[in-house]
């Protein structure tokens, strides 16, 4: 294989109206608005529904635990389930995923343990899950930096003729970052098997999209890099799944990267320390709550007779079970070992770090001696 890929530029602008397969009333959309994509079959949609319901229950539970002080912070993805779950469901276990801090529910869907996902937000360690085991990078906090990692890993796999795909999520604000540009460009030039999902939730903390870009859609940016771009209704999980699935298949077949914009809305605050009343109207939030991605799919499934009461009860039970498990995990104090601070910085041990480790060990021993010398109950 040569890295000299044939020069093929893609110059078709994405549709200005987002691609949609289910409208807000839960009716199947046909014709031009569907962008030529097929509605996934009922079994797939039911599974997406199940995953979204569980994801939301988890998200709501973690937000509540954060308000109770069990976690240091939690960036909620409430309302973004169609993007989060639709796209992650389009890749396979062998593929690699490069998430951001807001994508915890995608990690849950990928099969990562709630306790491992939440280690970072609880403040136990910066990252809690085994990245190799789950083929999932740590949740990136610096914006768009992870997109380059996704491109690099995809390129390495391609050099090894390993038919995997990398997927990365970005937010609308992240598209202003230089690393987003560099990632899109490297991916297109190298024709890496990478799918970029931009979740346009319309706010970068407090700053609206209009202050990030003059582009008509964020998907339009794809044209400048010579890769396909799709502007998708990000509250329609059927559309998100269908479009990302097609992009994943094209990437796996050697067709290169795709940029997909899912138009959605961040219902919750940026994090628990944010106050959205300072920068947006509650009527806008209410407007978007009426476009809820889960309700939309539910209406369709009910109209198709695919969501019986027993199935609904099974899904609710599964969601409650995840929530209860998460509550149990977060109400137990994590065991932390201060001396571990020194253990993972370098593969090759350093004398200076070992000295500092010994110093902290002595401080801890002194503190233990002092604590033992205190009469019981003292200091209250």
């Amino acid at each position: 294989m040569s890295l000299n890929v044939e020069h093929q530029s893609v110059r078709t602008l994405p549709s200005e109206k987002p691609i949609r397969l289910l409208d807000n009333a839960g009716h199947a959309v046909r014709g031009a608005a569907s962008g030529g994509f097929e509605l996934p079959e009922l079994g797939t949609l039911l599974e997406l529904y199940r995953r979204m319901v569980i994801a939301r229950r988890f998200d709501v539970q973690v937000t509540a635990l954060t308000k109770q002080g069990r976690l240091a912070t939690y960036p909620s993805a409430y309302g973004q389930e169609a993007c989060e779950i639709g796209a992650i469901s389009a890749i396979e276990a062998r593929d690699w995923f490069f998430p951001t801090y807001r994508d915890s529910i995608a990690l849950l869907t990928r099969g990562i343990e709630p306790g491992d996902i939440l280690q970072s937000f609880r403040g136990d360690w910066h990252n809690g899950y085994d990245q190799h085991a789950h083929r999932t990078a740590s949740q990136a906090t610096p914006l768009a930096t992870q997109a380059l990692h996704a491109v690099g890993l995809a390129h390495a796999a391609r050099l090894r003729h390993d038919p995997i795909v990398t997927m990365t999520y970005l937010g609308d604000g992240a598209t202003s970052e230089g690393d987003a540009h560099e990632a899109f460009n490297f991916a297109a030039v190298w024709q890496t098997p990478t799918v970029f999902l931009v979740q346009n939730n319309q706010f970068a903390i407090s700053v609206p999209l209009s202050r990030q870009t003059r582009a008509a859609t964020l998907a339009d940016k794809a044209v400048g890099y010579g890769m396909p771009g799709y502007h998708v209704d990000g509250n329609d999980v059927a559309a998100v799944y269908a479009v990302t699935r097609a992009a994943v298949e094209r990437a796996r077949a050697g067709g290169g990267p795709t940029l997909i914009e899912g138009l959605t809305y961040r219902i919750e605050a940026h994090t628990n320390s944010d106050d959205p009343t300072r920068y947006r109207q509650s009527r806008d939030v209410e407007h978007w709550k009426r476009r809820d991605p889960i309700e939309r799919l539910e209406k369709y499934l009910v109209s198709e007779g695919a969501l019986s009461e027993s199935v609904r009860a099974e899904i609710t039970d599964a969601a409650e079970s995840v929530a209860a498990h998460t509550r149990d995990l977060m109400t137990v104090e994590a065991e932390i070992d201060p001396l571990e601070l020194f253990d993972h910085v370098y593969a090759r041990p350093r004398a200076a770090l070992l000295e500092q480790r010994a110093r902290l060990e002595a401080e801890l021993a002194d503190a233990a001696v002092r604590a033992a010398a205190q009469p019981t109950g003292a200091g209250r």
Binding site: V151, G152, D179, R348
Partner: protein
């Protein structure tokens, strides 16, 4: 892992030939690529051109475009994608064309290259080498002569080394590529064309150790990269005046070899550090502080810093006034009180 030099997979040693530092680096890359197909090389102009300093000369012709290629011109992109490649299991060796051009990659370096292993409790190492041609004295226009080492050494998680001669250039680059830790490999541009007789492969001291390159009894000069020559020339000049100078080539800036440096300083009881970078907050500040903290009672005088001035790097016609010279070194040593 600790790269043992026996792991260097290379052809049998050749008869000594005069080799430049650029040539030694080229040979190290060639031997590393031959010995390990996970080693890939990319950056700006490293392909058909062979790099602006010719360090990658001939490698693409030998190994093909899947092993060494020209990337788009974007330093953050180069480092960011190298991270992904290392995550997959490759051993990317990437080039920042000039050290001031590495600044766009600062976030990837500091936020990910340095932190990935710690963030993942050691489950995800990034075995990558970032080659950075550095420092001045080549008549470069603005942005072509910076000494950025202190930015990297101030960042926990990075290993930062700088060879001063062709043999170390070969041996340390092989060791850096074999290392599971990410290494910032700084190459002093003004030494690229310095020659030494070499039989390759050559194995010098481990890359985390400083080396005494000239023994002396009165003063320890601590130098690295381009200023090792400055220190050796200073020692020659001082010898004529009856002053015996020991020169330590630090080689490894992070970690710092307290043991070798301390032994020398306790022997001579006087130390000065020499670098091209500006003084304030520079690497020499750390050296002076460490040496003083650990050897105060052995010191007869304060540790001196003999450095570039606290100014942006000058234009070509002015750089000679900025860079530390043997005259400046000896003048600085004269500021100490000498009892004996």
């Amino acid at each position: 892992m600790t790269a043992t030099t026996t792991e260097h997979a290379a052809p049998a040693a050749s008869a000594p030939t005069q080799l430049t530092m650029a040539g030694a680096l080229n040979a190290a890359l060639r031997d590393a690529m031959t010995g390990d197909d996970r080693v890939v090389v990319y950056g700006e102009d490293v392909g058909p051109l062979g790099g602006v300093f010719r360090v990658t000369d001939g490698l693409q012709a030998q190994f093909g475009e899947d092993r060494i290629w020209d990337s788009p011109l974007a330093e953050s992109g180069i480092i960011g994608t190298a991270i992904g490649m290392a995550m997959y299991g490759m051993r990317p060796v990437v080039e920042m064309q000039f050290d001031a051009f590495s600044y766009p990659a600062f976030e990837q370096m500091v936020s990910h290259v340095a932190k990935m292993r710690n963030r993942t409790k050691g489950r995800m190492s990034l075995p990558m080498v970032v080659r950075i041609p550095c420092a001045g004295a080549i008549g470069g226009v603005e942005h072509h002569s910076d000494s950025s080492e202190a930015y990297w050494t101030a960042t926990p998680g990075l290993t930062v080394v700088m060879p001063s001669n062709p043999a170390d250039a070969y041996s340390m680059l092989r060791e850096a590529i074999a290392s599971d830790d990410p290494v910032v490999f700084m190459e002093p541009k003004s030494r690229y064309w310095s020659k030494a007789p070499l039989s390759l492969p050559v194995t010098t001291a481990p890359m985390d150790r400083a080396v005494v390159v000239r023994e002396g009894t009165d003063v320890t000069l601590l130098a690295y990269g381009p200023t090792v020559r400055t220190a050796l020339e200073s020692a020659d000049a001082a010898a004529a005046e009856g002053l015996s100078i020991e020169v330590v080539d630090l080689r490894s800036l992070s970690p710092f070899d307290d043991e070798t440096v301390g032994a020398s300083v306790r022997k001579t009881s006087r130390a000065a550090v020499i670098h091209e970078a500006a003084q304030f907050g520079g690497y020499g500040a750390e050296v002076a502080a460490r040496v003083t903290e650990r050897n105060f009672h052995h010191l007869a005088a304060p540790v001196l810093r003999i450095t570039g001035f606290d100014i942006p790097f000058p234009s070509p016609k002015l750089e000679e006034f900025h860079l530390p010279t043997p005259d400046r070194v000896l003048a600085a040593l004269d500021t100490w009180e000498w009892d004996d």
